[in-house]
């Protein structure tokens, strides 16, 4: 029985279902991302032990400089692309159907998404792409925004444009290329830097909003959006503090406008400043508001590596992930819990219900992070039997490499989905005061994040290596 099937109206006008407990394992997209991400890694490892590989199905377009080269590559690998398409279709289809989406909506949407993703990947592999700044995340975003805000797509396609789901799968696959030893080494600094910026940003937005006359709840919802993990933090805190129903959409509008602007601004400002990839990734991790937007910016900057920018493309994504996922996302449950206590005891005791249970910290924990950490532990255990040189020669081409290629596909699905679902005219009207308060915090966030990333912890972030 699906969640929607069992929903029934109540006398008080509220209907609440309980998906907590074991049900969460198949009723939350975080867990489905874990099953898919870890499933791919486990199958990849099994094939590796049998002398086989995921490499065949993890096909990507080769670098090309002429259309004839491109045509030859695509036609030679056509069967591999078809197989990969069906792999994704089945995996995502099972998960999204279990979550309550209709297969008849998802399938045509994903066919469209995959075809455009191939196009984006092909553009990114053009040998002149970097010269023209045709970084795949930016091309995907611009194309998606153009289509959704001009031509438009059927609303039913939204069933296949699942930004968060794809980005969570991608981050878990990313864990398989990020050694756990590196997480242990860099994690404490990531948490320290992220905590400093998160607390300062929240307080700046909160008090700026209060100063502008906004109430406690809206100030907190805006503050969490800027300080922790964007839209997800805003809705988590909105629920925790019992915010008026229009507050979350206001915060969503403000966060999205800023997040999309930052995808373009941060990589190009970092490039102007000639920041090493690890430093820029840390800055983006501190200053972007949503995982998907931040990955887009970090991957864009990673693409500049080797073109006058020091560091590797991996370092940009690694440092971003350490700061954003390990340093900021994991604390959302605690932010929501603390603010719920304050709301129920100080702000509006009568209107915001009973005190929260500490167990809510766990319910709100972004579970895909568990998959990310397990993936990292798996690959670290595999790697311990090899020297660095042997790992690079024997493991990377047949295990880590294909997983990385599948991760790139998942990220492209997410970047395109951001564009395809962003219809600016449909966003709630935010108003000048919420936008102003958030903007003050965002500016402080960007400046403080830059100082911490490029000066205080610069040597740490530019030395992220295996």
């Amino acid at each position: 029985m699906s969640r929607t099937d069992v929903e029934a109206p109540s006398a008080g006008g509220t209907t609440l279902t309980q998906a907590q407990g074991w049900r969460e394992l198949w009723l939350k997209e975080d867990w489905w991302a874990v099953w898919i991400g870890l499933g791919i890694i486990v199958v990849g490892y099994f094939l590796f032990t049998q002398g086989a590989s995921l490499k065949w199905i993890a096909v990507t377009p080769a670098k090309w400089s002429t259309l004839s080269q491109l045509g030859a590559d695509l036609s030679a690998n056509a069967l591999r692309y078809v197989a990969q398409f069906f792999l994704w279709l089945v995996l995502f289809g099972i998960a999204l159907t279990a979550l309550g989406h209709k297969a008849r909506d998802f399938v045509p949407a994903f066919v469209f998404l995959y075809l455009i993703s191939v196009l984006i990947f092909v553009i990114g592999q053009w040998t002149q792409a970097n010269y023209y700044n045709l970084e795949p995340p930016l091309v995907a975003l611009v194309l998606g925004l153009f289509v959704s805000n001009t031509i438009g797509l059927p609303r039913l396609f939204d069933a296949g444009f699942r930004v968060e789901f794809y980005i969570k799968v991608g981050i878990i696959l990313l864990g398989a290329t990020l050694p756990f030893t590196l997480i242990l080494w860099a994690g404490p600094i990531a948490i320290l830097q992220a905590s400093i910026v998160s607390i300062v940003t929240f307080l700046v937005i909160y008090f700026a909003a209060r100063r502008l006359g906004l109430d406690h709840q809206l100030s907190a919802v805006l503050g969490a959006g800027g300080a922790v993990c964007g839209v997800s933090a805003s809705i988590a805190v909105a629920g925790a503090v019992g915010a008026k129903k229009e507050y979350a959409p206001i915060a969503i509008t403000v966060v999205i406008v800023w997040a999309i602007a930052m995808i373009f601004v941060l990589p190009f400002v970092a490039r102007l400043l000639n920041l090493p990839t690890g430093v820029a990734g840390a800055w983006i991790g501190t200053s972007e508001f949503a995982d998907a937007a931040g990955i887009a910016a970090a991957q864009t900057y990673g693409g500049f590596a080797g073109h006058g920018i020091a560091g590797t493309s991996d370092q940009a994504v690694w440092s971003f992930t350490l700061i954003k996922v390990v340093g900021r996302d994991v604390w959302i449950g605690i932010w929501a819990f603390v603010l719920a206590i304050i709301s129920t005891t100080r702000w509006e005791p009568a209107a915001t219900g009973r005190k929260p249970d500490a167990a809510e910290i766990w319910w709100r924990f972004p579970k895909f992070i568990i998959g990310f950490l397990i993936a990292s532990i798996i690959i670290t255990l595999v790697a311990r039997n090899y020297t660095q040189a042997a790992y690079t020669k024997q493991v990377t081409p047949v295990l880590a490499g294909p997983i990385k290629d599948l991760r790139t596909w998942a990220f492209i699905f997410a970047f395109l989905s951001i564009g395809f679902t962003t219809r600016f005219r449909e966003l709630a009207h935010a108003g000048l005061k919420p936008f102003g308060a958030f903007s003050i915090g965002a500016i402080v966030n960007v400046l403080l994040g830059f100082v911490l990333s490029a000066y205080v912890f610069a040597s740490h972030w530019q030395n992220l290596v295996h």
Binding site: T4, G13, T14, L16, Q18, D158, Y247, P249, I252, E426
Partner: protein
């Protein structure tokens, strides 16, 4: 109302960089009586629920709160 599909339809832009299906939302939902977005343990005095999963298991639903 805490059905994720309906929440995404109600909250413009929620699906762009987040999701109503994610863990961070827990079981928060819209209280249509007070026009508030609340957590599952809200404990509104006006709440008289037919809790779906409880009903599914054949147990008596609570008459107030969760």
């Amino acid at each position: 109302m805490n059905d994720p599909k309906k929440l995404e339809a109600t909250m413009s832009g929620l699906i762009i960089m987040s999701s109503a299906y994610g863990s961070v939302r827990a079981e928060d939902g819209l209280c249509q009586l007070h026009d508030r977005y609340v957590r599952a343990s809200f404990g509104c005095g006006d709440f008289a629920a037919t809790v779906a999963v409880v009903a599914e298991e054949g147990l008596e639903p609570p008459t107030q709160g969760l």
